[in-house]
Amino acid sequence: MKRRSLASVLLVFLVLAVLVPQASAAKKITITWWLNPWRIEPPDLPEGQAVTAEDYPQWVKREFEKLYPNVEIKYEVVTNAGYQQKIAAAILAGNPPDVLRDYAFKKEWAVHGLLEPIDDYVTPEDIADWYPDAYGKGYINGKHYLFPWSYGTNGMGSTMLLNPKIFAARGVELPALPYRSWTLDEFLAAAKKLSWDDDGDGINDHYALSLGAQDGENNPVWLYMRGASMFNEDETKIIIDSPEGIAGLQFMVDMIYEHQVAPMGAEGMGIYDIINLFHSQKTAIGYGGPYEIGRIYRYVNEGRLEEPFEVKIAQFPHLPEVGPIAYHSSGGFMVFRQKDAEKKKMVMEFCNFLTNPENTRLLKSLLYITARDSINQDLYADSIFADDVSIYANAIQNGKQYYGSLDVDFSEARKFWQAAFEAAFTRDKTPAEALTEFAREANRVLFKK
């Protein structure tokens, strides 16, 4: 008897448990949101608490759910390493998130109707405020697909980081403000003074800078600097094997062997080796924008670096006849195909919430530049990094996309690009041979030529 009554109570409980949430779920809207790790400091973070990648999305979730109590935000912080794999798998399985940070945006998604156009959900004021190239990044077949948010990246390939202490110790002046720009000759003269031999064995122990074959972000600069370009005008052919490109790669090789201003072993190095060398002050020049200054403080907080050191941002060197060169890109959020009209409205509302002026300003804690002109005017006015930020912002204004626009998917050619630098840095091939071969292979995989 007892057991049966217990069972019936349980049964009623179970039925309720199944039915009740469903009854209310009818009105409830769940929005899934994926982003890669952004250690943005939310406004309500307690003083002195270390920022994690969870803090920002958690804050967004709280605030948005406060505004719209019938909405539930389910966010997921996806590591950079597996981001592309995860989104590709989700698309294959037919369950991509509603909102995605565009870290691995492919044009085909829009072309094949996997994305929602956003034109009806943005205001003319927004469009006027966003940089044209930031809003234009998601422009495919006459429609827009991207809510712009950040402008530029961590600054790799755009600007350099200088260690003023080493510059001073070696009697080298920093390039002058406002842009800290220098010509290639000025740079090389400085680099030679910044590389020296401690123990008199004829091999330098300190270097001006370091290069790495696996550093796909900074390597193109040295070629673009001379006026070379990866693609022809309409992006139908690889033309980086031009005389300018070859001269650029030759200069990189010379920096290692001829001028000895960069350490050997570049064929086996990647961006983290380069960062480590700069952080351990073995090199006087590193790469990146304001975000990379933030990395120094983050590493100190995480115990991976003993103490912070002063850093100044400078432009990459340039040839007077070509002018300054920098990498440029922007990022934002996009919306995958929605079936339910009511939900679609809410998803768009969510994207507007993420990218409205007030919330876009949060990028400041990462020393990022935003996609809104109005914000960038005063965002860093009170910051000790104001000069550095403005040098960076200035550099990326006229930046280039080294690997082409969304129209080309460079990913399959990437390994050939790296191989060309490996071959050149080991001197297995001359720069001309390495780039010619790269162009041949890349034209084959990208354009079936």
Partner: protein
């Protein structure tokens, strides 16, 4: 060739073998030595063969990395469920092939044996697409199900159960035992050694599996230990003290399994003539 006589030659050979054996496990020793070394000391020349001031800090920082416990749990769940289910499926099928004659038996067994020649990598892409269609990507189902499909277990069980005396099964049948009863009460208990070999090899194989878990999982929280470690190595390259602590942590359970069930391992190699 009389065994047991101690000669100088044999002593020398013994010493030579010891040296070779030490060389073979030296890398494993070096993993442990680095794991208990101070991170800054790993980046110094010359290295210390025996850490002068051992520390457990590397393990501590390894465990503060996100999802390490998830990886551990996932490895345990996947290896255990595949082992239990695989043993059950393979025992049932192996027994059938060993002791029953039925229409199509030759053909079906040939299908299983022939499949052992197909490299696993051939099924990777279709399996991935199949899992995406079923919605099993990045889930336990996706990790476990393909582990149950391999033909090897059935082959191993068939080989083992062929050696069981058929008279015993007949006797049980005469005693009125049903087919299921025979399997459960006679065949399974008699096959314990074979089952142990299959279980151990399946468990170790699943614990160490790499390419499929790498492909089928995409969230950090769903990774297994080897995949988590490999990706950690990409995330924090060059932090060898931390990485070796993680490697030691993932290797220890298998070394314990090996030392406890050594006999079955050595037997299993000869019974199944396993790869490599």
């Amino acid at each position: 060739m009389v065994k047991g006589k101690v000669t100088i030659g044999k002593v020398l050979i013994f010493i030579l073998l010891l040296v070779l054996g030490l060389a073979a496990i030296l890398p494993l020793y070096w993993m442990v030595a680095t794991a208990i070394q101070h991170p800054t000391l790993t980046m110094q020349f010359p290295p210390e063969w025996i850490p002068s001031n051992p520390t457990l800090n590397n393990f501590r920082s390894f465990f503060t990395r996100p999802h390490v416990w998830n990886w551990t749990l996932n490895s345990i769940v996947v290896a255990t469920s595949v082992t239990v289910l695989q043993v059950f499926l393979a025992a049932l099928a192996g027994y059938t092939f060993a002791k029953k004659r039925f229409f199509g038996d030759q053909f079906l067994f040939w299908l299983y044996v022939g499949s052992m020649m197909v490299p696993d990598q051939v099924t990777l892409i279709p399996l991935y697409l199949l899992m995406s269609k079923l919605g099993f990507l990045d889930s336990y189902k996706g990790l476990i199900l393909p582990g149950l499909a391999g033909p090897f277990g059935v082959f191993l069980m068939k080989q083992h159960m062929s050696t069981l005396p058929s008279e015993l099964l007949d006797a049980a049948r005469i005693d009125g035992c049903g087919e299921w009863g025979i399997f459960q009460r006679v065949v399974l208990p008699l096959s314990k050694p074979g089952i142990a070999v299959l279980a151990i090899f399946t468990f170790v194989g699943q614990w160490n599996a790499f390419i499929w878990p790498l492909i089928v999982t995409s969230s950090s929280a769903m990774r297994t230990l080897p995949v988590g470690l490999a990706l950690l190595q990409e995330e924090v390259p060059m932090q060898f003290a931390l990485l070796m602590a993680g490697a030691t942590y993932a290797a220890i359970p298998m070394v314990i399994v090996f030392l406890s069930f050594q006999r079955y391992f050595l037997e299993g190699v000869t019974v199944g003539a396993l790869k490599g």
